[in-house]
């Protein structure tokens, strides 16, 4: 058996006063898929980063294959056969997929014979179910494509213990199943052991052998998946699991708020551009845009924020042409929540409080202000940190130190605040635990009921069906299908997503 087992012993990690991990001991048997569950900020990423030598644990030890191991940095970990796919991507953006694969090998040859390397890579990919594009720079790949490339890279590097930090948040359910069943097959054949961080119970149930739950940095329970019910796992995560709020849909649709007509723009990949002939979102309505990642959703978002210039057509908000300047966005009450908010919607090295104030820092009660009101900023931040349950050491911590889910909450707290007429969101629940998912979907629905027009671009079909009044399907840069949510079903939408209908 090539797969290796791993054990952490009393692992503790402190960031200043905050104990992100508190004496966590976990045993992962070789050749199994071990799920790691926990709320946002529970310390899951911190635990695996300590294993990989990215952080140095304050206390505690590590056994790899039964032997005590000292891991100073990720290179040591790789030498021991440990590999990890991080929650934030670590591919090199300007290098192509193939270049990323070859250069991350410790034995990359001094002079690279590309034709030979390509043949080798293609042969290696032949028995994997995913085929990430290899000739495009990674910066031009969609989140889903990057995720596949990250996993492929680890397998290519010959890792025998693979840590996956929320690998499926960017994949469609079908893609996720495909990826995970292949990984499961690799485990069963004894090639690899997997530590899988996820928020999706469905995946734990279908693919994992064992599960460990963390709560606020502490070990809250371990067991075989077969012996644990969903309710039991939820209870271990939350303490007492609160009832999931029911989303009521009230109110009627109003006037059109966002209108796109004949909008054209170049796409990130491929010669065919993006073409949206007609899209309208009315007040008090949620329009969901479904689609498999990489079908033009990123570009659509960029068109709406005017980061991607239109080659034809127009975008109007409340009948007025919209150029997405700060003044226009403020006057028309337009708010955004793009994907990868740490990169696209925050200033990573600025504090949580400053990031929360980005929309309003230069306005006071009586119009524009010249001097920042720090006290009010902190007070306001504290209120929103409490209201949105953001886990941060303090309002002064840089937002980049927050866990993935908490960055998401911070940006949402900023964007949903105050008067909003139009909200454009992409994958708002990417990487959130289910409590947070329920809370955020509740907030979106409440905003809709208040009369906000919401355009929801999401790769999660459940989310689309739960929230949307109307559903549009994006495929190959076009809106392939639009229907009232009540008049269609998952099978039909899925067929259009796959481009079959």
């Amino acid at each position: 058996m090539q797969a290796i087992g791993l054990e952490t012993v009393g692992m503790t990690m402190r960031f200043g006063a905050l104990a992100a991990l508190d004496k966590v001991s976990v045993r992962i048997a070789p050749g199994t898929i071990h799920a790691l569950l926990g709320e946002n900020g529970a310390g899951k990423s911190t635990l695996v980063k300590c294993i990989m030598g990215f952080y140095h644990a304050t206390e505690g030890g590590l056994l790899v294959d039964g032997k005590e191991a000292r891991i100073a940095d990720p290179v040591d970990a790789q030498r021991l056969g440990l590999g990890m796919v991080y929650q934030h991507f670590t591919l090199v953006p300007s290098l192509t997929g193939a270049e990323n694969l070859v250069i991350s090998r410790a034995d990359a040859p001094p002079v690279i014979d590309w034709p030979a390397e390509r043949t080798a890579i293609d042969r290696f990919l032949a028995d994997l179910p995913f085929k990430p594009p290899l000739d495009r720079p990674v910066s031009r790949l969609s989140a889903g494509e990057k995720q596949k490339l990250e996993i492929v890279k680890q397998l290519y590097l010959g890792s025998r213990f693979l840590i996956l930090d929320e690998p499926t948040s960017v994949l469609t359910p079908a893609e996720a199943d495909e990826v995970l069943s292949h990984i499961r097959a690799l485990c069963q054949s004894g090639r690899i052991t997997v530590l899988l961080i996820t928020h999706k119970f469905r995946e734990v149930r279908r693919f994992a052998d064992d599960v460990t739950v963390l709560r606020r940095g502490r070990h809250a329970g371990t067991g075989s998946v077969a012996d644990l019910s969903d309710d039991r796992m939820a209870q271990m995560m939350m303490g007492d699991a609160p009832a999931r709020p029911v989303l009521d849909r009230t109110g009627t649709h109003g006037a059109p708020v966002l209108e796109l007509s004949g909008a054209r723009a170049p796409s990130l990949s491929g010669p065919n551009g993006i073409a949206i002939d007609e899209l309208c979102v009315r007040a008090g309505e949620i329009v969901g845009v479904a689609g498999i990642s990489g079908n033009g959703q990123t570009e659509l978002m960029e068109m709406l924020t005017r980061q991607r210039p239109l080659t034809a057509g127009r975008i109007a908000i409340k009948g007025r042409p919209f150029g997405a300047t700060r003044a226009e966005a403020q006057a028309l009450n337009v708010r955004y929540l793009p994907e990868e908010p740490l990169r696209n919607a925050s200033a990573p090295h600025m504090s949580v409080a400053e990031n929360l104030a980005l929309r309003v820092f230069d306005t006071g009660p009586g119009g524009p202000i010249l001097w920042l009101n720090r006290k009010a900023m902190i007070r306001d931040a504290q209120a929103r940190i409490a209201a949105y349950d953001i886990k941060t050491a303090s309002p002064h911590s840089p937002i980049a130190t927050l866990s993935g889910g908490n960055v998401q909450r911070t940006v949402l707290a900023r964007e949903l605040d105050g008067d909003v007429d139009l909200l454009i969101v992409a994958n708002p629940c990417f990487g959130l635990d289910f409590n947070a998912v329920a809370a955020i979907r509740g907030r979106l629905m409440a905003a809709r009921n208040r009369g906000v027009a919401i355009l929801l671009i999401s790769e999660d079909l459940d989310e689309i069906f739960e929230l949307a009044d109307r559903i549009a399907v994006m495929s190959c840069g076009r809106l392939a299908f639009v229907a009232q949510a009540g008049a269609t079903d998952v099978a039909e939408i899925g067929a259009y997503m796959a481009g079959r209908a």
């Binding site: 940095d73 670590t90 090199v92 290098l95 001094p110 210039p309």
Partner: protein, 307 residues
Amino acid sequence: MSGDLGLWAVPVAMLGGAIRVSTPFLFVSLGECLTERSGRINLGLEGTLTFGAMAGYALAFESGSAWVGVGAAAAAGAGFGAFHGWICRFKGVNDIAMGIALMLLGIGLAFFFGKPYIQPVAPDLPSIPFGFWSDVPQVQAALQVNVLFLVGVALAFGMAWMLRNTALGLRIRVVGDSTEAARAIGIAPDRVQLWATAAGGALAGVAGAYLSLYYPGSWNEGLSSGQGLMAVALVIFARWNPVLCLFAALLFGAAGALGPALQTVGFTSGYYLFFAAPYVLTLALLIFTSTPGNALDSAPGELSITK
């Protein structure tokens, strides 16, 4: 028909001028390109170039060999580059501010040590007469190509190949794009940046030696006319691509040769305005080649000017 080419003299003189004037641009911009590809920016190359010109001239004079001078200039340049690379690895050191300081230091040191070498005559670098087939003196003069230019052309293609096809080249690009990713795959960013900056400095030193040992071909304090600074703009214009650096350098060289070329055909009124052509060209190119949206797509991610 020897001698009188009429207005044809202008393009012929510009061709020759382009090759002659572009060589220092080519070397500094290749040096800057390599440095920036590793994620550092070195604004001190103007100083490195001036010091290289002085050091090259001085050693060529003392030793009697122009090539010893070129070697000395490269070594001095590498020293400046390595110093820059070493100092920038410390937390809180800004590579732009440090570069400007080094530029002033280089120029100052060059003037200080260069005083005794303003008068003496050092040996010139050899050149190859590619114009032997023609009996027109202007053509012969234009095709008198210096060996360093040929080295520079080979270097441009070699560097482009290196960045695509060698592990070293990929490592430089990884470091330039994301030091975090570099660490994750076990590359020490500081080391790579140190060597890339040192190599970039060496190339700038060679550019200086070309100025003092070939064209114009003597050492004085007004020798460099901002080639080291314009290289920064040139690299951006060339989109961090060594082969495009070659073409950009030729373009700048041709623009620089415009003034003198017009002079040769007796165009005297206001011709000195044409001496400003390279600078005007720099501005114009940077403005017209920067389209919003995709302008800096190819910029290395760790570069402090684009971050």
